[in-house]
């Protein structure tokens, strides 16, 4: 398990580096998807099945589609960085910023007190999550439905206004 963890860590880091350093936006997006998949694999090696599945379904499945669609509807996104070198310019400022973020996050994580794991660990955590969702956290559960619907309707409203404006111009 430890070897798998280390291998997947390197895979994830390499994908992340590719995602921030390639100039072609599509390549960046593909590397980012590989990075998301790496994170999911890391979660699986850490015995966090449910989180891993969530990561796969939401990030690898949906967010990556969102990112690719964003590139499709953006004018000439593919060619933004296609001229010249395959790696982006201005990388030193990027490295500096990344190092700064790393230091801040590392410092923050270092000071967090990790609570001891429950003993014994629950046999089927997913069922436990489901039981808590519909019993103790029923109100947030239903509020989440409202929130998701609001997001759905809100995004549609923005698009409708945009397309009607478009129609007026034409």
């Amino acid at each position: 398990m430890r070897t798998a963890f280390i291998l997947i860590t390197f895979w994830t880091l390499a994908s992340g580096l590719l995602a921030i350093s390639r100039r072609n936006m599509i390549h960046c997006a593909l590397a980012l998807i590989s990075f998301f998949a790496g994170i999911a694999a890391l979660l699986f090696t850490l015995s966090a099945d449910f989180l891993g599945a969530v990561q796969l379904l939401i990030y690898v499945g949906a967010i990556s589609v969102l990112i690719l669609f964003a590139l499709l509807v953006t004018h000439d996104a593919s060619r933004l960085g296609d001229r010249g070198a395959p790696f982006s310019r201005g990388k030193w400022s990027g490295w500096m910023l990344s190092a700064l973020v790393f230091v801040v996050l590392g410092f923050g994580l270092h000071r967090v007190a990790v609570p001891p794991p429950p003993d014994p660990a629950p046999a089927l955590p997913v069922a436990e999550i489901g039981r808590l969702l519909v019993t103790r956290h029923a109100v947030p559960f239903l509020a989440m439905a409202l929130l998701l619907t609001a997001a759905l309707v809100g995004s549609a409203l923005v698009a409708i206004e945009e397309s009607s404006e478009h129609a007026r111009k034409e």
């Binding site: 398990m1 798998a4 699986f44 090696t45 015995s47 449910f50 599945a53 969530v54 379904l57 939401i58 499945g61 949906a62 967010i63 589609v65 969102l66 669609f69 964003a70 499709l72 509807v73 953006t74 004018h75 000439d76 593919s78 060619r79 089927l124 997913v126 069922a127 436990e128 999550i129 489901g130 039981r131 969702l133 519909v134 019993t135 029923a138 559960f141 239903l142 989440m144 439905a145 409202l146 998701l148 619907t149 997001a151 759905l152 309707v153 995004s155 549609a156 698009a159 409708i160 945009e162 397309s163």
Partner: protein
């Protein structure tokens, strides 16, 4: 090795098998084929018609809505899966709650449908 790790070892083996099965024919073809490239052979195939222009055209921003709707219903599954797994333990009231959860989101979908947002123009 615990049963947990064992389960994912099988998943890993299956992934490896999938990778090998998918890549072997491609690699074999790359090794065995004769290599005589010409301009016509390397042209993009488009239903037999000569392709014109660039494939990187800008799509309508409206298509983004489909992706957004997809993300939202993906999130819905994340909430429904644990409830479905726990359904035997929690009984009928939980089932009602899930129905309300799906119903509220269904309202959003019906609204979008009635407004014609989902029409592919």
């Amino acid at each position: 090795m615990s049963t947990y790790e064992h389960g994912y070892l099988i998943v890993g083996c299956l992934m490896l098998v999938a990778l090998v099965v998918a890549s072997t024919p491609l690699l074999l073809a790359a090794c065995l084929r004769p290599r005589k490239p010409s301009a016509i052979k390397q042209a993009t195939y488009e239903c037999g018609i000569e392709s014109k222009g660039d494939s990187w055209i800008q799509f309508k921003a409206q298509y983004y809505l489909y992706a957004l709707a997809f993300v939202i219903f993906d999130l819905e599954t994340i909430f429904l899966i644990p409830c479905a797994v726990a359904l035997n333990q929690v009984g009928f009231f939980a089932f009602l709650e899930m129905t309300v959860f799906v119903g509220v989101l269904l309202l959003g979908l019906v609204w979008e449908w009635s407004k014609g947002v989902l029409e592919w123009r």
